[in-house]
């Protein structure tokens, strides 16, 4: 099956092009996916910073009710999975889910362990370390950001309340956003790339096969038929096409002609021999 010209020419090309296009599409998709996730993390980190900054005055004034309302309103927004602030000890102080207020957050869970894995907790993290991705109980993918609330001179020197000036972090804002829009974008991208990949493959492999068939396979088949006809003494026109094919056709036609002439010559000699034999037999008779 794989011995004919079409298979020999098309199988390696099809295999090489298919593999290369698939690998490149996979690498491109992974790169684009990573870039999209990085962008989403950067946007969400920025959003978390804005929330902390906008709540700064409320925290400075120790207006706990306003802060509770802010977190509550924030948590009710579409696309926000959770919003909570916990203090330095890991106790949830404010949350959009009232059930988790005053509960203790485990320091070894994702989102906390990034800072608390060493003997001394880290006070700064890059945007990617602040982010964590998980699937919630409803099966939705969530991208959560933890942003530290840093101590400021106004916090430790305020008249209303104070924090120790030695404490560098007073608490942490933890906000989770559902990743459904990102997942939809990635699924659309995957579909488009699969379609693009399929079209490139059809065009390349189909194009190679069509060109080979037009320029090589069909002329070779015509040459075969012509050579076969020529060897059986049937008159046929040599195939037209590329100059190599025409030259080969001319050579086959010449050889066919020579073969026919030789066959006719042989036939003549045979007849002559038979005639001579008969004449010799006639002369031998008394």
């Amino acid at each position: 099956m794989l011995r004919n010209l079409a298979a020999r020419a098309c199988v390696p090309v099809a295999l090489a092009v298919t593999g290369f296009v698939i690998v490149c599409c996979m690498l491109l998709y992974t790169t684009l996916k990573r870039d999209l996730i990085d962008d989403a993390v950067a946007r969400e980190t920025s959003l978390a910073d804005i929330i902390v900054k906008s709540a700064r005055y409320t925290m400075l004034k120790d207006d706990r009710e306003s802060l509770r309302q802010t977190i509550q309103t924030l948590g009710e927004q579409q696309g926000i999975e959770h919003a909570r602030i916990f203090n330095k000890k890991g106790v949830v102080m404010y949350s959009a889910d009232s059930g988790e207020v005053n509960t203790q957050v485990d320091k070894v869970t994702a989102g906390c362990v990034e800072c608390h894995q060493g003997d001394k907790p880290l006070t700064t993290l890059g945007p990617m370390e602040q982010a964590r991705s998980f699937t919630n109980a409803r099966g939705t993918k969530v991208l959560a950001i933890t942003t530290p609330i840093y101590n400021e001179p106004a916090c430790s020197q305020g008249a209303c309340h104070f924090h120790s000036p030695e404490a560098s972090i007073l608490g942490t804002l933890d906000i989770g956003l559902v990743q459904t829009p990102l997942e939809k974008s990635l699924a659309a991208l995957q579909l488009k790339m699969t379609l693009f990949c399929a079209m490139v493959l059809i065009l390349t492999v189909g194009g190679v096969f069509a060109l080979l068939r037009r320029n090589v396979i069909l002329p070779v088949r015509q040459l075969l038929s012509f050579a076969d006809a020529s060897s059986r003494g049937i008159d046929a026109h040599p195939p037209q096409g590329a100059e190599e094919v025409e030259a080969l056709g001319r050579i086959i036609a010449e050889q066919g002609q020579r073969y026919r002439e030789t066959a006719q010559e042989l036939q003549r000699i045979k007849v002559k021999i038979v005639d001579l034999g008969k004449a010799a037999e006639g002369s031998d008779k008394p």
């Binding site: 390696p12 593999g19 690498l27 992974t30």
Partner: protein, 175 residues
Amino acid sequence: MADRPFANSEEEQPLGRTCEESQQRIEALHRLSRRGLWGLLGFILLTTAAVQVSNLVPDLPLSVRQTLGASPSENLISIALAVYIFSALILILARMMGGTKTYRGWSHLGYLSAFYLFYYYAKALDQNFWAVFAAGMTILSLEYYGIWSWCSEAIRREREHLSQLERKRQHGLGG
């Protein structure tokens, strides 16, 4: 450069070989054509090992990372993979065009395992696993096809030579 015939060395031409030599050569060619399958099997085993290791040891200990230093970025490894598959495919196709019987699947196993290692060290094996797997399957399948088609052609020539020897023997012309 002069065009090279498909069977490009005297060793590959069956003329002058005895019946036993041809039989032995057919056996050797069968073994050679199976080399591609062994290469594919080796790659599948390598892939299975890579998956198992990344599942059992998701991350290297911090001390090992400190000793080895920072990993190359995922982008750089991906660019290297794209360049590698491109050049490997060009070389394999060129070898197939030249009609040589060289099989380079074993060195590709080494390169591919290096990609698995680099992605693992860069903590990006999960995202890029299928790309390395597809690259490996493409390269080794093409290597296999190349060596298999060369061997099939050589076996066909040897069998033709054997049948010629058989005809000569039947007509009492030796062989």
